[in-house]
C-alpha cells in the first residue's frame, strides 16, 4: 500500500505544483517572452564590440548563443527559488499530513525539470530562427542541463535562505557572475571558472551549434548535475527539519 501511495502522492503533487506554476500569469509570460528578449538583447548588445582574436564566431552569434543559455538557465533558477520560498509553510503542513520530505523534494524537482525542458525547447526554437544549429539534439541537451542546474541552485538557495529578498540577492549575484564569465567577452585562462555552473554547458552548446560533440564537456556537465542533485536533495531534506518554518 505504501508503494502505491508513494507514486500517487508524487503524481498528484507534481500535478498540483504544475497547476500552481501555470496559474501565475507572470511566470507563463516570462516563459514565452524571456528567451526572445534575452537572445535578441544579447545579440544586439554584442554587435558594438570588435571581434577579439580569441572569439570563435562572429560577435552577434556569440551574443545570441549566450542569450539562449541564460534564458534557459535563469528562468528555472528564479522559479526554483520562488517555488520553494512561497510554499515553505504549506509544504510543511503537507508533510505533517503524510508526505515525507524526500517525496516533497521529488515533487519540486519534477516541476523544475518540466519547466527546464520547456524553456530549453523555447530557447532553442527562438535561436534556430537566426542561427543554424548543426546538432540540435545535443544543443537541446546542453540547454536543458543548464536549465536544470540552475533550477537546482534556485531550490538550494530557497531552502537555505527562505526569504525572498536574501534569496534573490544571492541568486542575482551568482547568476550575473556566471553570466559574464561564460559570455565569451573576455578570455579567461583560469581553471577556477570551470566550477561555474554554466561553463561546461556553454562549451557543449557552442560546439553543438558548430556541429561537434564535445564529449569532455558533456561528461563534466553530467557530473556537475549529479553533484548538484545530491547536494540539493541533502540540503532540502535536512535543512527543513522541524526548525519551525511555521513560526512566522
Amino acid at each position: 500500500m505504501t508503494d502505491v501511495g508513494r507514486v500517487d502522492r508524487i503524481l498528484v503533487g507534481v500535478g498540483s505544483a504544475l497547476r500552481i506554476f501555470l496559474r501565475e500569469p507572470a511566470q507563463l509570460a516570462v516563459l514565452l517572452a524571456l528567451p526572445v528578449i534575452v537572445i535578441e538583447g544579447y545579440g544586439y548588445a554584442m554587435t558594438a564590440f570588435p571581434e577579439f582574436p580569441f572569439m570563435r564566431m562572429n560577435v552577434e552569434t556569440i551574443g545570441r548563443l549566450s542569450g539562449a543559455i541564460y534564458a534557459s538557465a535563469f528562468l528555472p533558477g528564479v522559479m526554483g527559488l520562488f517555488q520553494v520560498i512561497s510554499a515553505v509553510q504549506a509544504d510543511e503542513r503537507l508533510r505533517l499530513c503524510g508526505y515525507d520530505r524526500f517525496e516533497l523534494f521529488l515533487v519540486r524537482l519534477a516541476t523544475v525539470a518540466a519547466v527546464s525542458l520547456a524553456v530549453a525547447a523555447v530557447s532553442l526554437a527562438v535561436l534556430a530562427r537566426t542561427v543554424t544549429v548543426e546538432a540540435p539534439a545535443i544543443a537541446f541537451g546542453a540547454l536543458a542541463a543548464a536549465a536544470l542546474a540552475y533550477g537546482l541552485i534556485g531550490m538550494l538557495v530557497g531552502a537555505a535562505l527562505p526569504r525572498a529578498l536574501e534569496g534573490s540577492l544571492v541568486l542575482v549575484f551568482l547568476v550575473d557572475a556566471d553570466d559574464f564569465l561564460s559570455s565569451g567577452m573576455v578570455e579567461i585562462d583560469s581553471r577556477l571558472v570551470e566550477l561555474f555552473p554554466l561553463y561546461h554547458p556553454h562549451e557543449l552548446f557552442q560546439s553543438a551549434v558548430e556541429g561537434t560533440f564535445a564529449d569532455g564537456a558533456a561528461l563534466a556537465t553530467g557530473a556537475y548535475l549529479l553533484v548538484l542533485l545530491s547536494i540539493a536533495a541533502l540540503v532540502y531534506v535536512r535543512l527543513t527539519d522541524s526548525r519551525g518554518v511555521l513560526h512566522a
Binding site: S16, Q89, Y99, L246, H247
Partner: protein, 263 residues
C-alpha cells in the same frame, strides 16, 4: 464502527516514549520546554515560551486551551503536532492527528477541489474517500458553491472553512485546532459545534485553542497557559478571576483572565 486509519506514512507519529498509551489517553505531553533565542549572541531577547508544560488528552473529550496573546498556545500546539521541535520534554501520540493551524496554510492557486485531492492523497485516502469527505464538509460547513474557486479568491471566512476541513477530512483520532472558527458566520459556528459533538461521540479527542471560552460548557476541560505551563482552570469562576465579586485571592497565578471579553 469502521475506522479506516489513514496516514500510512505517519508511523513516525509515534515519537519518543511511545507505546500504546494506557487507557483512553490519545496524547500525552510531559515537561515541554521551548525557548526562542535571538540569532546573534548577547543581542536581542531570549524568550522562554514554554517551561514544563504537560497535558494528557483522552479519547472523546474536548479540551480548551486559553491564555493571553503571546502566551505560547500556538507554539505548544505546533510542538504537539510535530511541526516544531521542543527543547525538552516528550510528546507521545497514540493514533492519527488532524491539525488546523491558525493561518490557513494552503496553496493559493489551487481550487478547493484540487486542495482536497492533494491533502487527501497525502493522508493516503483514495479518490472515493476524498470526494466523500469533501462533499460531507462542503455541506456541513457551507462551501458547496465554492468547490471550483481558487483559494486566493475566497473570503477569509471561507478560506478558514477549507483550512478546517482539510484538517478533519481523514477522520483522525486526535484533532488539534488553533482558533478554528475565525471569520465564521453564526450558522457555520453552530455547525462546527454540532460536528464536534458528533466527533467526540465517535471517540475523537479534540483540543481547541480559543478565546471564546464564554462557551465554557462546551468544553470538558479548560487549560490555561501562563508562564509556560498549563493549569486546569475548568472550575474557576471567570468573574472571580477577573477580580469581580467575592473573588479568590489565592489565584496569584492568573494574570488578567478576561476569557469572555474577547481580544
Amino acid at each position: 464502527m469502521q475506522n479506516i486509519r489513514y496516514m500510512p506514512n505517519k508511523k513516525n507519529v509515534r515519537r519518543v516514549g511511545d507505546a500504546d498509551l494506557d487507557g483512553d489517553v490519545v496524547l500525552r505531553a510531559d515537561g515541554i520546554g521551548k525557548t526562542y533565542d535571538s540569532v546573534v549572541p548577547f543581542v536581542g531577547r531570549t524568550v522562554e515560551v514554554l517551561d514544563g508544560a504537560s497535558v494528557a488528552i483522552e479519547a472523546g473529550e474536548i479540551v480548551g486551551i486559553v491564555g493571553e496573546n503571546g502566551a505560547g498556545k500556538s507554539t505548544l500546539m505546533q510542538i504537539l503536532v510535530g511541526a516544531l521541535g521542543a527543547d525538552s520534554g516528550e510528546v507521545a501520540v497514540d493514533g492519527t492527528i488532524g491539525w488546523c493551524p491558525q493561518d490557513p496554510l494552503l496553496y493559493d492557486r489551487l481550487t478547493v477541489t484540487e486542495t482536497f485531492r492533494l491533502f487527501g492523497t497525502a493522508y493516503g485516502m483514495d479518490e472515493e474517500a476524498v470526494t466523500a469527505a469533501r462533499d460531507r464538509y462542503a455541506e456541513l460547513l457551507g462551501f458547496e458553491e465554492f468547490l471550483d474557486y481558487r483559494i486566493d479568491r475566497l473570503s477569509g471566512g471561507n478560506r478558514q472553512k477549507i483550512n478546517l476541513a482539510v484538517g478533519l477530512m481523514h477522520d483522525p483520532d486526535l484533532l488539534l485546532l488553533d482558533e478554528p472558527y475565525t471569520g465564521f458566520d453564526w450558522e457555520t459556528y453552530l455547525s462546527f459545534w454540532g460536528l464536534t459533538e458528533q466527533l467526540t461521540e465517535q471517540g475523537t479527542a479534540i483540543a481547541i485553542i480559543s478565546h471564546f471560552v464564554s462557551e465554557r460548557d462546551r468544553f470538558d476541560r479548560i487549560l490555561e497557559l501562563t508562564d509556560g505551563t498549563l493549569t486546569d482552570v475548568t472550575d474557576r469562576d471567570p468573574d472571580a478571576a477577573a477580580g469581580r465579586g467575592s473573588g479568590n485571592a489565592g489565584d496569584a497565578t492568573t494574570a488578567s483572565t478576561e476569557v469572555g471579553a474577547g481580544d
